[in-house]
């Protein structure tokens, strides 16, 4: 879409767009180019010189069992985070939608966790499940369950999933609630007159009408789980135990900054670039569709 009316001149617009272009070039394109370039080399241990290895870093990564494990961990983690944040959010939104009075109050209370940073959420959940002082782990202990996410990989995964999903419930709730409010009341009333009960109406009318929102949230939540949960994992588990919570983004960090393996870390960045690109394309394809919905 273009404006019919435009101003003349080309110096001014170039000047106006310059700040954004310069910042993008310096902090986005140059580093991304560097990542691609470095991914083709293996630096020596002192960082003095590096040897060109072509696709060597990628070949090594794809054959590396730790990297493949990180891929699998990321997949499990993002599916669980998406489910654990969307299902409760939908449930709460359906409840709130049934209320005429008071839904505003609940909404105000429910959006709090969105404002809490993932890293802070990590600290809050770590505190509840801390093996020494945690309230919930203490009560679990009294029920005969010995909680120890420091040693048990499955429990560690469960904890980072819940801590990551917690703040997203607010986000998903807001979108589901808005979508539910937009469902035409006349359709619901017609179904009710025909004798359809609440759950029947929900499965056959409401849920299909929510599908654009649901799909949108699926993509957005997967992107969130992939890229924005670093703070949760870094504060709760540090990727452990035995790398059981090392997702791809965490591995870029730990190999690049902790392990100082720049070639491998860059190659991982490049692979992630492709993943982001793919997710972005899916998101945009969907948005084009939604316009016609």
């Amino acid at each position: 879409m273009e404006k019919r009316v435009t101003f003349r001149g080309w110096m001014l617009p170039l000047l106006l767009i310059a700040p954004q272009v310069v910042i993008s070039a310096v902090f986005f394109f140059y580093p991304a180019g560097q990542a691609i370039w470095q991914s083709l080399f293996i630096p020596d241990p002192f960082g003095l010189s590096s040897q060109f290895v072509g696709m060597g870093n990628f070949e090594f990564l794809l054959g590396d069992k730790f990297y493949r494990a990180a891929f699998l961990t990321t997949a499990i983690f993002s599916i669980l985070v998406t489910l654990c944040s969307m299902i409760p959010a939908l449930f709460l939104a359906v409840l709130a939608d049934r209320l005429i009075k008071g839904s505003g109050v609940y909404r105000t209370l429910l959006i709090w966790p969105y404002a809490v940073a993932p890293a802070v959420a990590g600290v809050l959940w770590l505190f509840m499940f801390n093996t020494r002082v945690g309230v919930i782990s203490w009560y679990l202990g009294h029920l005969g369950y010995d909680w120890n996410h420091v040693l048990n990989g499955g429990e560690a995964m469960g904890l980072v999933v819940v801590a990551s999903a917690w703040g997203r419930i607010s986000y998903n709730f807001l979108f589901f609630f808005a979508a539910l409010q937009a469902v035409p009341k006349s359709v619901i009333e017609a179904a009710a007159i025909d004798g359809a009960h609440f759950w029947r109406r929900f499965w056959t009318i409401v849920l299909p009408l929510l599908s654009p929102t649901t799909f949108f949230l699926l993509v957005v939540n997967i992107v969130y789980a992939f890229f924005e949960t670093f703070g949760v994992i870094h504060t709760i588990t540090g990727g452990g135990p035995q790398q059981s919570t090392t997702i791809l983004v965490y591995k870029v960090f730990s190999d690049g900054f902790v392990g100082q393996d720049l070639g491998s870390s860059s190659a991982q960045s490049v692979i992630l670039l492709f993943v982001v690109g793919l997710l972005t394309i899916i998101q945009f394809k969907y948005i084009e569709k939604r316009v016609h919905y």
Binding site: P19, I23, A32, A119, V123, V252, V276
Partner: protein
């Protein structure tokens, strides 16, 4: 008829109470971690390290919060709060300014390279900082911007989302306004200041809410580039308060800091709820 249907579809006596009950239960479950953090920030260390800790606030509120704010663990939390504030406002204001300018250029001008620049900005959508941390870190280090506000702010400022949002909005401004401005001989920048910026007020405010929270909640980037505790932001500084090794963490101070870290974004979100929801929906479209 309408009323009868209303009664049938919407709220019936017992169902309504059940709905409220579930809703309250949901709110309580979701609030529990925050409540527990608050309780922990008002009791003494011995009360916490001998589980189970109390579930009702104690009387150590001032002690713990003043210990956190004015001495902290590595650095007073007041310092970290100030750094976070500078970073969050810097990112929000910076993004809004450069996006307003570039969206104005893209919508209201024809100039060489326009579509090239447009796609260049579009591509930055796909590059979250987490993906290119090592080289971006090297660039910032090369500029000598480690441990500085510009290093915290600038790399996070370029945002395709805000530019697209403003572009979408500018396209809805009636052409007649630009036409009239041109006939009156108004220069483009005059039109920008007198018409475009005032009309964008609500969008700017909504975006500010979203971007403030985005900036405030950054973790990985400040973790990498602020090695000096004086430059730590509060969200990344909490993790630094945990002792390494077997020492016991100072839980009351850490939890007081966690509460302090969530107060500003919560105030922004709850206080500007309408703008926040609008910004959320707009920026994701």
């Amino acid at each position: 008829m309408a009323r009868a249907v209303d009664g049938m579809v919407e709220k019936r006596g017992s169902g309504l109470w059940l709905t409220h009950a579930f809703m309250i239960l949901g709110v309580l479950v979701i609030f529990f971690p925050i409540w527990l953090a608050f309780v922990a920030s008002t009791v003494t260390q011995p009360e916490i390290v001998k589980p189970p800790m109390p579930l009702w606030p104690g009387d150590q509120f001032w002690e713990n919060y003043s210990a956190a704010l004015f001495s902290g663990v590595n650095v007073p939390v007041a310092t970290m709060l100030f750094n976070s504030l500078v970073m969050a406002i810097g990112i929000a204001v910076g993004k809004i300014i450069i996006s307003l300018l570039s969206a104005f250029a893209i919508v209201y001008f024809k100039f060489p390279g326009k579509s090239f620049f447009f796609w260049m900005i579009f591509l930055t959508l796909m590059l979250p900082v987490e993906v290119r941390i090592v080289p971006t870190f090297e660039v910032v280090a090369g500029f000598g911007m480690l441990n500085s506000y510009s290093g915290l702010i600038l790399p996070l400022i370029a945002s395709a989302t805000a530019t697209f949002l403003f572009r979408q909005f500018f396209l809805t401004i009636p052409d007649e306004l630009a036409e009239a401005a041109r006939v009156d001989g108004a220069r483009p920048m005059r039109f920008f200041w007198d018409i475009v910026v005032p009309m964008s007020r609500t969008n700017v405010a909504a975006l500010f809410v979203i971007l403030f929270i985005y900036g405030w909640n950054q973790y990985l980037w400040p973790l990498l580039i602020t090695t000096d505790p004086e430059m730590n932001t509060i969200v990344m500084g909490i993790k630094q308060m945990f002792p390494s090794g077997d020492d016991v963490a100072e839980w009351p101070v850490i939890m007081a800091t966690s509460i302090l870290a969530m107060i500003p974004p919560v105030i922004v979100v709850v206080g500007m709820q309408r703008l926040f929801i609008r910004g959320l929906v707009d920026s994701e479209k």
